[in-house]
């Protein structure tokens, strides 16, 4: 090609100025250039102008990152492409590019070109099997890895072929030892499983492969644990239901896992070349062939990756299940649902859905039928085994007793079996409070404690309605109705909360209804208020009148049948006879335990008997409180009665027939003191009845009318009602150790009044006989003989007069002092109502001014 050599010649002379003169050099260079041009450089480049343009642009961007030059190049290139002259624009650009990029790497280019240049000398000889040596790899020669492998083979320690390891790894995933990799199980600690790689003299296993197998075998290890747990639980009797369902879920997961392993195993194609795989080259071939379709350790790692997470979660659950049980286990799993990883969250949600199924079944039963079906005590409500079989037994007398409350048998009969009943009903409130226990640590967290309490209370109420109130029909109907409403599930928490709310409301509403309508709780409460707290004035008066004389006798001369008979008389002669017989039947009069020297007033008490299930609210403890109240009020009543009788004598008798002018001033004094006493007692009574009892009653009735809350709330309302009354009527102060100070003073005051009353009676008698004597004297003066003259008696009486006067004065002043102390104590009482009582007692500062007067007197 003359054109070519001429052009080359001009090139040489242009670039190497020396060659223009030196012909030999010129010729040498020319030959060299020809050589280069004929070489293989850049033979296999395809003509893609776009790719080339990209290369150039990248190059330009490297030299000047602003991009201006790249933009310029783009412009120029598009203009060049418009030009019709050149036929090999691509080639030109490529020429320029290779020229441009070359000087930038002056050191790399010379080494790079020769390394490419020599054709691989031995590929055909090194691959004897060479069934499908891909031609693409041919020109590159051997990779370093291949060289290494060759070296190892030469040194007699080839790597173990991967497909063998792969098989073993698949075994490992199932917890089985393989041929080359074994699980060593140390006997002392089963958790300390180790992998042992069996390396014979012929093969070694590379370090990175070992690490990979270790990673993979973690799944196998976890699998063994989970599987062992499931087997263990399967064999064991008495495994909780929640655990059972956990095992079920785990088993399902393991089945999935088996499926995956099976798929992987089928993917693992055997060695493709039956011959010659023992020498390691077959393995290599397998790897090559497997690159397209088969399984490798690394692929296995990718496949297993998801399962690694799952297995970890399962293993964690299994670990937790060892020491948690029931609801606590559910809680444990629920703890993982807050995970940020959506995979973990989803997995736990699924798991929880499964695991909580038995829990919700129990919950359903508990919530809608009030029955606790929990054979393995996994629910957050636990049954007290002692009380499990205790049920309210309606005294048979209740059913029969209402019908024939005969006048003779009613009270006596109740009195006779009194002891049996009190023994029987000891468990009233206790049954309600202690039969079922709320176990907070077993409560699943997704329910929440407030709802847990509601659930607890609902089931308890239903259970109570069913067994204690004998209203199982209603519960059964309700249960049927609720069954249509769909089941409770973990995934539907809001629905769960709704159904809990409705169940709670219906149950407590029903409980209220049962208590108020069926068991007439209100009637009983009212009866307690009327009788034990003397709300029925006429009844109390009657009782006082008929009982009064006998109560003044020593306690040991009183008999119960007399008392009950008197009580009945009082009922019959007062308005109380209109009360329902069921209420009256329960009223009983009895005596407290008495000691020597006590009189009837000290030991008499009224009693109101309640039985199941009312005694859940009116438990024995509150009945004691009621009796305390009764005792106090009864005493108050007695004092009041004594005072009013005395006042009648004073006001009536002293003015009409006791005409003793010389004793008129004494009577005046007595009237003043008595007026003070009457004021005191009246205020006291008004305070007790109007300000304490009626106000508390109103609060209680308001609560009962609302019909909100459960039985616990009802019990609470009643006990607060009772406590309020006890505290205020008995004037208890919150100071520790001195609670009853005021009460004791008030009682002393009562006895002072009674003593005063006695002294006054004596004085009255004296006046009576004195006036009779004087009348007699006057009769004698008129000449009418009316009786024998009893001078000796008169003398005695006259001697007694100063003593009587002294007594009256003493008691009168003692009363004043005590009243003053009480008023003083009340004024500093913490309770506002009690303080108001103090103000009312010393209205217009009566006692205070007296005190000041005393102070003034002392000063003057």
């Amino acid at each position: 090609m003359p054109d070519l050599s001429a052009s080359l010649d001009s090139l040489v002379s242009a670039l190497v100025p020396q060659a223009r003169t030196d012909n030999a050099l010129n010729a040498e260079l020319l030959a060299h250039c020809q050589d280069i041009l004929n070489s293989h450089i850049g033979q296999n480049n395809d003509a893609d102008i776009g790719h080339l343009a990209d290369l150039v642009k990248r190059h330009l961007l490297q030299t000047s990152p602003t991009g201006v030059t790249a933009l310029k190049f783009t412009n120029l290139l598009s203009r060049l492409l418009d030009q019709p002259v050149l036929s090999k624009k691509h080639a030109s650009i490529l020429f320029l590019h290779s020229l441009a990029s070359a000087p930038r790497h002056p050191t790399v280019t010379p080494t790079f070109l020769p390394s490419l240049a020599p054709p691989p000398p031995r590929p055909a000889s090194t691959v004897p099997s060479a069934a499908d040596p891909p031609p693409a790899h041919q020109p590159y020669g051997k990779s370093k890895a291949e060289k290494l492998r060759e070296y190892r083979q030469k040194s007699g320690q080839p790597h173990l072929p991967e497909y063998l390891l792969l098989r073993d790894t698949l075994y490992l995933l199932q917890g089985i030892s393989g041929k080359y990799i074994r699980l060593s199980v140390s006997n002392d600690d089963p958790e300390q499983n180790k992998l042992v790689f069996v390396e014979d003299s012929k093969h070694i296993i590379a370090g990175p492969t070992k690490v990979l197998i270790h990673r993979l075998s973690e799944v196998g290890h976890l699998y063994t644990r989970v599987e062992a747990f499931v087997r263990d639980r399967e064999a064991k009797p008495g495994v909780g239901m929640i655990e059972q369902s956990l095992c079920h879920h785990l088993q399902a997961q393991l089945t999935e896992y088996y499926r995956l392993v099976a798929v992987l195993e089928s993917q693992m194609s055997g060695p493709p070349h039956s011959g010659g795989h023992k020498d390691g080259n077959g393995g290599e071939g397998n790897v090559r062939g497997g690159e397209e379709t088969g399984l490798t350790l690394k692929r296995l790692d990718v496949w297993i990756n998801e399962w690694r997470l799952r297995m970890r979660m399962m293993s964690v659950c299994v670990e937790g299940a060892r020491d948690a049980q029931g609801g606590a286990l559910v809680n444990l799993i629920h703890g993982y649902t807050d995970n940020g990883d959506p995979f973990v969250r989803k997995f736990t949600d699924q798991l929880l859905e499964e695991v909580s199924k038995p829990f919700f079944a129990t919950l359903h039963k508990w919530l809608f039928s009030g029955e606790l079906y929990d054979p393995y005590s996994e629910f957050f409500v636990s049954l007290d085994p002692e009380l499990a079989h205790v049920q309210y037994v309606h005294p048979s007398s209740l059913a029969g007793g209402i019908g024939h409350l005969s006048a003779d048998g009613g009270f006596a009969g109740l009195g006779a079996d009194n002891d049996d009943i009190s023994g029987d009903r000891e468990g009233g409130l206790r049954l309600w409070e202690a039969k079922y226990q709320f176990q907070k640590e077993m409560l699943p967290m997704f329910v929440g404690e407030a709802f847990g309490r509601k659930i607890f209370s609902t089931g308890k109420s239903l259970n109570f309605i069913r067994y204690s109130c004998h209203d199982s029909d209603w519960v059964a109907t309700r249960e049927k109705m609720s069954n249509t409403g769909g089941s409770l599930k973990y995934s539907d928490i809001s629905g769960l909360e709704r159904s809990i709310d409705t169940a709670y409301q219906t149950a407590s509403q029903r409980l209220f209804e049962v208590f108020i309508e069926k068991f007439k709780l209100l009637d009983h409460l009212r009866a307690l208020k009327h009788y034990l707290m003397l709300g029925h004035g006429d009844f109390a008066d009657q009782l006082m009148e008929t009982l009064g004389p006998s109560l003044s006798r020593p306690a040991n001369t009183l008999y119960r049948h007399n008392l009950t008979a008197t009580l009945e008389t009082a009922i019959r002669s007062s308005n109380a006879q209109n009360d329902p017989p069921d209420v009256l039947r329960r009223l009983d009069a009895r005596m407290l335990e008495y000691s020597h020297g006590e009189i009837g007033w000290d030991v008499f008490t009224l009693e109101y008997k309640v039985d199941a299930p009312i005694d859940t609210v009116l438990d024995p403890e509150s009945m004691i409180k009621y009796q305390k109240l009764f005792n106090h009020l009864w005493k108050l009543r007695r004092v009041e009665g004594a005072l009013s009788a005395g006042w009648m004598k004073v006001a009536g008798g002293s003015r009409t027939f006791l005409r003793l002018p010389d004793l008129e001033s004494d009577w005046h004094q007595i009237r003043i003191v008595m007026a003070e006493m009457v004021h005191f007692i009246r205020q006291m009574q008004a305070y007790c009845q109007l300000e304490v009892i009626e106000c508390s009653w109103k609060i209680l009735i308001d609560f009962l009318d609302k019909k909100e809350g459960d039985l616990d709330a009802m019990i609470g309302a009643h006990s607060s009602y009772l406590d309020r009354m006890v505290k205020k009527v008995l004037l208890l102060s919150p100071k520790a150790g001195r609670e009853e100070n005021l009460l004791v003073q008030v009682r002393d005051l009562f006895s002072t009044i009674l003593q005063f009353r006695d002294a006054m009676d004596n004085f009255y008698n004296y006046c009576l006989s004195e006036s009779a004597r004087r009348d007699q004297g006057r009769d004698v003066d008129r000449g009418v003989f009316t009786g024998l003259d009893q001078n000796t008696d008169n003398q005695q009486l006259r001697d007694a007069l100063p003593r009587i006067r002294r007594m009256i004065k003493e008691y009168g002043s003692s009363f004043s002092e005590r009243a003053q102390v009480i008023v003083h104590g009340l004024q500093s009482h913490t309770d506002l109502d009690c303080r108001f009582l103090g103000i009312r007692l010393s209205f217009s500062d009566f006692y205070k001014s007296k005190k000041e007067q005393q102070a003034q007197q002392q000063r003057s």
Partner: protein, 73 residues
């Protein structure tokens, strides 16, 4: 006929200018004349990469010759 000839020359000149610009951009340090020769070679079917190798070889040769000359002096 002559106008067409001049057109051809004109466009060839333009093409050469553009190629020269690109060559400047890529900092190949070729002058216009050499560039024209190279383009001619390429058009006649020479492998561009081989040609680049030739250019570089010649440059290297020239440098070594210069050095030798300098040493000789």
């Amino acid at each position: 006929m002559s106008s067409r000839e001049s057109d051809r020359i004109n466009s060839a000149q333009q093409t050469l200018d553009i190629l020269f610009d690109i060559s400047q951009l890529l900092n190949t340090k070729l002058d216009k004349e050499t560039l024209a020769t190279c383009v001619g070679l390429i058009e006649s079917g020479v492998n561009p990469e081989a040609l680049a190798a030739v250019i570089q070889e010649l440059r290297r040769e020239s440098v070594t010759l210069n050095v030798q000359a300098a040493n000789a002096r």
